[in-house]
């Protein structure tokens, strides 16, 4: 599930639809830092990212923070269970 600027979206199809509907074509992520922690006995992992977004044609970067909760699959990979994104307005 994704919480994007407070909007709650559930299911991979809905999340893809949201992300592809964002009103810009190019967006560069400049990562300031990434913190990770194991998330408990189920073998998950929390990833916490802060940085800047530079939209094409915009002069100023936007600060953002985002967290992902990755959970293991039986096949040995991970899927995104939780995703929360926020801009940090100045």
């Amino acid at each position: 599930m994704l919480t994007f600027e407070g909007q709650k979206i559930q299911g991979s199809a809905n999340i893809v639809a949201k992300l592809t509907s964002l009103p810009f074509q190019q967006c560069q992520h400049i990562i300031s830092n990434v913190d990770t922690q194991p998330s408990g006995p189920s073998g998950g992992m929390i990833v916490f990212v802060c940085g800047n977004l530079q939209l094409s044609g915009e002069q100023h970067a936007l600060k953002f923070s985002q967290m992902f909760h990755l959970m293991p699959t039986p096949q040995g990979s991970y899927y995104v269970l939780n995703d929360i994104f926020r801009l940090n307005y100045a």
Copy 2:
């Protein structure tokens, strides 16, 4: 476990020691937004907070973002399994 500005601290005694050693006496949290999501079959909950910190005697607020991963106890309350804190420097 706590990741505070990249510093990894494990165990409640160590975390309390870190938080009580921070070099200020008063700090006001001005919360901009709080997002929450359930974190999976173990009944946990992810809380994602953004806002400003106002230290006493400082003119400018500091922007921060922080996430908590709360896990249920058998007694029906929650404990903090994961805590990640970052300042968002301008």
